[in-house]
Symmetry: C2
Subunit: 333 residues, 2 copies
């Protein structure tokens, strides 16, 4: 029990412990359903990602929401697995889109195999996720998760077209974040409530919690890209180098004078980045309070996530969901 006790101060690990029977069923289902009778390449590629030590945060949210709402059946395992497959599929496709070489400190699938395998195995997992959903026998769940899937992709495409454009607004940024990150968090919690058959108010509360948690999560991620000092597996300034318009940069550009504007134009739009540019970008973001303002935005979304929980059934799961909302921003210290 020592190991568990030591880990127990991280709330998602306490939640994983609380849900360990459900989670081990999800793990078993992931292994069964990622198999392919005809194409052994598929489980190879998937295993590389699925076993890379992700936190299984999204499927855990589905399990937690269902159990919180008193669900006693077994279909939450199918839906949690479906949610993890959608997430894994988007990671595989993201790495192709971003031309990434590393994820979670390990080489990406597109590097180990090829872009082709990443595209096709992502498609396979996406199709598998819909198969799993049909087994839960709820058209409403399918509607929520197919809507989320469309929104995820819209967010990714919007991010693609907004990249390298220094006129990108905070409004566009939040549309991107709602799509690429929050949509799946929100759907993950919402379908848990739908499965349990709770009231529309509670389903809405679960959706809002997932939405706000997902936004907080992504804003923190974008801030840590510059803040550093966290085991994100990313290098400080990756987003700057990839010319992604994230919240800290957007806030810094909003208050830029002419010289600073020229700097952002050169580095982000014209892709002319030189030694010392990242350091200069950091000093601009810090000088204009953009990092601090981004931190406050993250704290605000964390608070909204906790506020959404009011009215849901009280107990240890609810407390842990609130703690997770705190923990997401605690990475900022």
């Amino acid at each position: 029990m020592h190991v568990l006790d030591q880990k127990a101060h991280k709330p998602h690990e306490r939640l994983a412990d609380h849900l360990k029977d459900d989670l081990s069923q999800v793990d078993a289902m992931i292994r069964t359903r990622m198999a392919s009778e005809h194409a052994p390449r598929i489980p190879e590629v998937t295993a590389h990602l699925v076993e890379a030590g992700g936190k299984r945060l999204r499927p855990m949210l589905t399990l937690a929401a269902a159990r919180l709402c008193g669900y006693e059946g077994g279909h939450h395992v199918h839906l949690a697995t479906a949610v993890e497959f959608i997430h894994t599929a988007t990671l595989l496709h993201d790495d192709v889109v971003d031309e990434s070489g590393q994820r979670r400190g390990r080489p990406t699938a597109n590097l180990l195999w090829d872009n082709k395998s990443s595209v096709l195995v992502g498609d396979y997992l996406f199709a598998r996720s819909f198969q799993l959903m049909t087994e839960a026998d709820s058209l409403r769940v399918l509607k929520v998760l197919s809507n989320a899937s469309a929104t995820i992709t819209e967010g990714e495409v919007l991010q693609l077209t907004a990249a390298q454009d220094i006129t990108t607004t905070e409004d566009t940024y939040f549309k991107v974040v709602r799509g690429k990150t929050a949509a799946l968090f929100a759907a993950a919690t919402e379908v848990g409530g739908i499965l349990a058959g709770v009231s529309e108010e509670r389903i809405r509360a679960l959706h809002d919690y997932g939405d706000a948690l997902g936004i907080a999560f992504q804003v923190v991620d974008d801030l840590l890209d510059f803040w550093g000092g966290d085991a994100t597996g990313k290098n400080v300034g990756d987003d700057f180098r990839e010319r992604k318009l994230t919240l800290p940069i957007i806030k810094a550009i909003a208050t830029a004078d002419d010289d600073e504007r020229a700097f952002w134009k050169r580095t982000l739009e014209r892709n002319d980045q030189r030694d010392g540019d990242l350091e200069h970008a950091l000093s601009l973001m810090s000088g204009h309070g953009a990092l601090e303002a981004t931190r406050e935005a993250a704290l605000g979304w964390s608070q909204r996530a906790k506020d959404s929980l009011v009215g849901l059934p009280e107990g240890p799961i609810l407390d842990m969901l609130a703690d997770i909302a705190d923990y997401v921003v605690a990475r900022l210290r």
Copy 2:
């Protein structure tokens, strides 16, 4: 009416004429559903493909199957649109996987935009197709089409891993073809019958027709790659250059002597292709009767498609479906 009369000897054009009200609803739904409020890049890329003058054969099969079985509702339009979106998504992803520069004689989306857009817009259409399916309110339809989607991708991955491997068997080839082509044909016709609520025997017959038609279609396509003389928009020998193990090549390798085996190993496995190699490959395939045997296989599958139609409601639609099975192989003259 002259233009229609002139075109009317092609059976898929007669079927399109017969179903023109349904088809114009499908066209309208394609335009509405490919739109994206947030990401205008999406309809740009989709329009490039959707309006490229494809024959809409797959959605037409869904409409035809539903009408053949007496369906009077409106959900066949949703399902036909979903089928076309799945097809378009796979084309977008295929062009990334094949690193293609042309499709139907026009530059591919991955060339006009980039691989990123092709991957993400494909994902978007795939998600949209599942949204459309949920609107038809049939879990069984969702099961059939999500199974087909998984099978399509398995076929593509199997093709990827079988490429450049001269030990590929006919059995593997047909698994690939059943996946990448026949699965969607079979699902397209099957869901029309499910929607109409016909007997299991008739649903099975519709499935079998689509399956056999799809296989015939792909075998003909693979043969025309060498046979040429058809407006396929492909160049003679593309598959040979891309080292795809299609049926004519597999049949030629099966009867190869040592010298010929060395030739196939050099050109397909070691990718050492020289001037005159395509011509030599053609003479080997022709000399061993591999092209003729492939043609006979295609004729056999066309016949199986027609045989499957026995027991389905007689009338003009059934006759046109039989004519389409003939027409697919008539491209071989």
